[in-house]
């Protein structure tokens, strides 16, 4: 009996040792809020909440698992991991399914979105590569890093999934930025994007994506078509007011005016039901998570951990800004979920796994440094 208790105690200690409780607290709060809002958004049906809850459980398992892998080990596996995650990304182009393209692979039990893995493995790969070079990176290093970023980005663009591609590219770019990329590169990159944009417009963007951009520029121009989502979502947000209509009282979502109100637009439901106060609380939690990631990264003693943790933290924040901006009509609509609030499995699991990696950086710091 005492043996079992002791074993459990040890397990607890070991479990605790591998976790950053402050960040975990913030994440659990976000997940809790996510489930609460999901319960309301799904019209009180417990199915989605249970499904999402079990995904969170899986995600927390992944987080714990990742937090137990030492960054040094992870660094050694990085090229292999990156190569392995490219395989399903390639495969999805042939066997994938999805509404606007091939985004998911049907694994029988679950739908699996390969791009989510890249969100984790690409910053790893960039960090791995940069860590092996002198920093700040020189021209050739930046170009190689750019290729590393470009390959998965291009594959995701082929799905096509413009939003995810940009987010993936940005997560790689963050590693470059944190590595001290000279500022003139940003000017060059901006100019390059401006030059490539017309070509992308004609060759890469699907009509519905163009619609989204047109609609973003002037949502009222097509109030019943493409502009509908943004208009209705803005109405939901605006109608929420300072303190919101109350849990389960959001008429916009309950009467189905908000599209995809359990996934991409769930933040609008939160805004409607919990008001600006709810929005600020959630944004503060996100800010805390990002800040904590950057703090852990800054405290890290090796370049790989630093770059990876920083890039993951910033990428996490980009989701928040893009999703929060798009549903409020501040940014064009790209299919980006709100981290830990939007319904969806792969996203939650990969996000939590990534944050597990960040936690590992903190947990393994002393071992590694001393």
């Amino acid at each position: 009996m005492s043996l079992i208790l002791r074993w459990l105690f040890d397990l607890g200690v070991r479990f605790g040792r591998t976790l950053d409780w402050m960040m975990l607290g913030a994440l659990l709060a976000l997940m809790g809020i996510g489930l609460v809002v999901l319960h309301s958004a799904s019209g009180g049906s417990p199915h989605l909440v249970i499904a999402q809850g079990s995904r969170f459980a899986v995600g927390l398992g992944a987080l714990w698992l990742m937090s137990r892998i030492s960054p040094a080990q992870l660094r050694n596996w990085t090229p292999l991991v990156f190569g392995l995650t490219l395989v399903p990304l390639l495969a999805v182009l042939f066997i994938g399914t999805g509404r606007h393209g091939a985004h998911w692979i049907n694994l029988g039990v679950i739908y699996f979105q390969p791009a989510e893995l890249i969100k984790l493995s690409l910053p790893m790969m960039v960090a791995w590569y940069l860590n092996r070079r002198a920093l700040p990176p020189r021209l050739d290093v930046v170009l190689v890093a750019a290729v590393i970023i470009a390959v998965p980005t291009a594959l995701i663009l082929l799905q096509p999934d413009f939003g995810t591609a940009m987010l993936v590219a940005v997560s790689g770019a963050f590693a470059l930025y944190l590595a001290g990329l000279p500022w003139w590169w940003f000017g060059t990159a901006f100019a390059g994007v401006a030059a490539v944009a017309p070509a992308a417009w004609f060759w890469l963007l699907k009509p519905y994506q163009k619609d989204r951009i047109f609609t973003f520029l002037n949502p009222e121009s097509d109030p019943l078509g493409a502009g509908w989502n943004i208009i209705q979502s803005k109405i939901a947000i605006g109608a929420g007011g300072l303190s919101g209509k109350g849990w389960g009282q959001g008429s916009q979502s309950h009467l189905n005016y908000i599209p995809e109100h359990t996934t991409d637009f769930i933040f609008a439901v939160l805004s409607e039901e919990f008001g600006w106060i709810g929005v600020v609380v959630v944004l503060a939690l996100y800010l805390f998570v990002v800040g904590r990631c950057l703090w852990i990264a800054a405290e890290a003693r090796d370049g790989y951990s630093r770059l990876l943790a920083g890039a993951l933290g910033l990428a996490f924040c980009v989701y928040v800004i893009v999703n929060g901006g798009m549903i409020a009509g501040l940014l064009p609509v790209v299919g980006v979920p709100m981290p830990l609030l939007s319904y969806g499995g792969t996203s939650a699991v990969s996000l939590l796994a990534g944050l597990g990696v960040v936690m590992a950086v903190r947990v393994y710091k002393p071992v590694h440094a001393r």
Partner: protein, 649 residues
């Protein structure tokens, strides 16, 4: 090679650089999240009112509540027009999308006709896209069930329950009740947007003249709707005002008896209570089934009706002006007495022909050899033309026309049916206006026996004859009472008082005696009165349809029916205390005594001796609410008709 060389890394500098960059990035994150929070503050706090309003508008839709149309009863509470629940298919073009997406599928389920599709297309072009357009009315249960299975395939297509107007006695009362028809864009303009939810509007007959009362008022429900427009719950309502029920003065049995009395003949007849002006029965034959028109008549059905030479759609009662012929004589006689131009005992010699000075052609009497000395009573009972030729000339056309106008000719009777014509009262002004010809004495002679330019309606005739019977000229009317709903009490519809037809009751009495004598041996209508249990008074008439000149040369019987003489009869009974006055016009009926009078006798019999036809066993009169029960909310369903204890006599 360089790539194989060990990279020289300055860990400290890298860490320092990272911290700088991370700090800068965090500042950026703070700013970005701050901007985001600020933007939400702008939406949620600064612009809250506007968005709150838009959100409210989003979910709260006004849904019209269509009131049930008022039920129409006969004087004994039998249903003449009611509502039965039915389903129709409505399509909202904006939601349904292009017709080729759904039309083929729906056409299979509902067996749409070309016409229905055509009509829908027409409506789609003129109606705004968010307003539902009815594709098909009266969907069968089978069709409704088949649609229910496939409903999800057709957004914007809905089965809507509504109350379908039904006329259990469609053909019998076609020209009285009229019918409702689908509302078109023009109707909408007069009804206003608020009443757009009404699908039908009274087009003819009582349905039209009392449409405003019958249709009630559309109510509204504030309904919380989801984005598909499906209502989730009602959050407020302004109740609909049910259409008023009407109780007509028509007696269904008498109506049936009247129609039966015509047999194969065509024409029109009115029976009126001379004491009140209540129209007891009125037919214009042939009629047509008004039910055909309720949801839009098909081209084929309409063509059949239009092509029918008997013109079933034509309401002879209020639209069919005919020459009154001799039926006017009692009235002209009254004018002679009232004007002082004649005393009852003044006599005129009838020789068979009457000549005007300087006119070669003469005017004849019904009897070739003449009727001999004729006083006023005899002039009526024997229908002596010469008496009237002279009387009219003595009166002069101006005075003649004046009296005739007093008796209600030349203007509508004011019956509560829409579109009644005033007919034509011959006068010099009229002739000058219409033909640019001056008036000749011969015209006065023609007018004195109801020929020439005369055009009167059966309603005008019955009104004036009832005037003689009762002493008062009254407005004929079809409605007795109305009530604002099933719970509400019946309320009498006030009628204007009658006006005395003559200043001297004795004059009237003489005319009545003349009319009574008509029905006695020697009179023109004596055969009609044989064996009657009551006394009656009347006047026969024969109206020439063709012009005088043609008539002289052509045997009337060789003419097509509608060109032959009209057989007319006016009268009332019982003479002592008249409770019914009738006017009967039979097309192609020949002499008044031969067809119109027997029909009138049957009408009298039916009313006065209760010789009403037995209702057929399968008569489709719903006696109770059973059939229309279970209609949509707000549907006022009639119980058994009001207990009417008024005696018929």
């Amino acid at each position: 090679m360089r790539s194989h060389r060990r990279v020289l890394k300055n860990s400290h500098a890298e860490a320092e650089q990272f911290r700088n960059r991370a700090l800068l990035a965090f500042s950026g994150v703070v700013v970005a999240l701050g901007v985001l929070a600020g933007w939400y503050f702008n939406l949620q706090v600064l612009q809250h009112d506007e968005y709150a309003t838009r959100s409210e508008n989003n979910r709260i839709k006004l849904r019209p509540v269509v009131p049930a149309r008022g039920v129409i009863y006969d004087r004994n509470g039998r249903i003449l027009a009611d509502n039965v629940p039915a389903f129709r298919v409505d399509v909202t073009p904006e939601e349904a999308g292009a017709p080729d997406k759904w039309l083929p599928g729906l056409a299979e389920i509902f067996s749409l006709t070309e016409e229905e599709i055509e009509q829908f297309e027409k409506a789609r072009r003129t109606t705004r896209g968010f307003r539902p357009i009815t594709l098909k009315m009266r969907v069968s249960e089978d069709e409704a069930a088949r649609f229910a299975v496939d409903r999800w395939r057709y957004p914007g297509v809905e089965l809507v329950s509504y109350l379908n107007r039904r006329y259990p006695h469609g053909e019998l009362l076609s020209h009285v009740i009229g019918y409702v028809g689908r509302i078109d864009e023009d109707d909408l303009k007069t009804l206003g947007e608020a009443n757009a939810a009404l699908t039908h509007i009274g087009k003819t007959g009582i349905e039209r003249s009392y449409d405003e009362a019958l249709r009630g008022q559309v109510g509204f429900e504030r309904v919380e709707t989801n984005v598909e427009g499906r209502s989730m719950r009602v959050v407020g309502r302004m109740p609909a005002m049910p259409g008023a029920d009407l109780r007509l003065s028509i007696d269904l049995d008498l109506q049936q008896a009247m129609a039966d009395a015509f047999g194969e003949f065509e024409g029109a007849a009115v029976a009126m209570d001379p004491r009140t002006g209540e129209v007891l029965a009125m037919v214009s034959l042939p009629g047509y089934d008004t039910n055909l028109f309720v949801n839009g008549i098909s081209h084929a059905d309409y063509k059949t009706l239009i092509d029918n030479p008997s013109r079933p759609l034509f309401n002879r009662l209020v639209l069919g002006g005919v020459a009154p012929g001799s039926t006017l004589k009692p009235l002209i006689a009254l004018a002679g007495l009232d004007s002082g131009m004649r005393q009852p005992e003044d006599r005129v010699m009838s020789t068979g022909m009457f000549y005007l000075p300087g006119v070669r052609r003469g005017w004849g009497d019904a009897s070739r050899g003449g009727h001999g000395w004729t006083d006023l009573r005899k002039s009526i009972s024997h229908s002596v033309n010469t008496y009237y030729y002279k009387l009219a000339l003595d009166l002069g056309i101006e005075r003649f026309a004046h009296y005739m106008r007093e008796y209600g000719f030349g203007e509508p009777t004011g019956v509560d049916l829409v579109g009644e014509i005033g007919g034509i009262l011959p006068s010099p002004e009229y002739k000058m206006q219409m033909r640019r010809e001056r008036w000749y004495p011969g015209d006065t002679v023609n007018a004195s026996i109801g020929q020439g330019d005369w055009k009167v309606t059966p309603l005008q005739l019955v009104r004036s004859i009832a005037g003689i019977a009762d002493g008062s000229l009254r407005r004929p009317h079809l409605t007795l009472e109305q009530r604002g709903g099933f719970e509400a009490p019946w309320q009498a519809l006030p009628q204007p008082p009658g006006a005395p037809i003559s200043s001297n009751p004795e004059n009237l009495q003489v005319v009545r005696e003349g009319m009574a004598a008509t029905m006695q041996p020697g009179g023109t209508g004596w055969r009609m009165a044989l064996g009657a249990e009551y006394t009656m008074a009347g006047k026969t008439g024969t109206a020439q349809v063709t012009s005088r000149r043609d008539n002289a040369a052509v045997d009337p019987r060789s003419l097509p029916l509608h060109l032959r003489h009209r057989s007319l009869f006016v009268g009332f009974a019982p003479v002592e205390d008249p409770t019914i006055a009738v006017a009967v016009a039979v097309e192609g009926g020949g002499y008044g005594g031969s067809t119109a009078a027997p029909i009138a006798r049957k009408i009298f019999d039916a009313w006065l001796t209760g010789a009403m036809p037995e209702p057929a066993a399968d008569e489709p009169v719903p006696a109770t609410i059973a059939e229309s029960d279970g209609g949509p909310a707000g549907a006022e369903t009639p119980e058994a008709g009001p207990a009417v204890t008024e005696a018929r006599r």
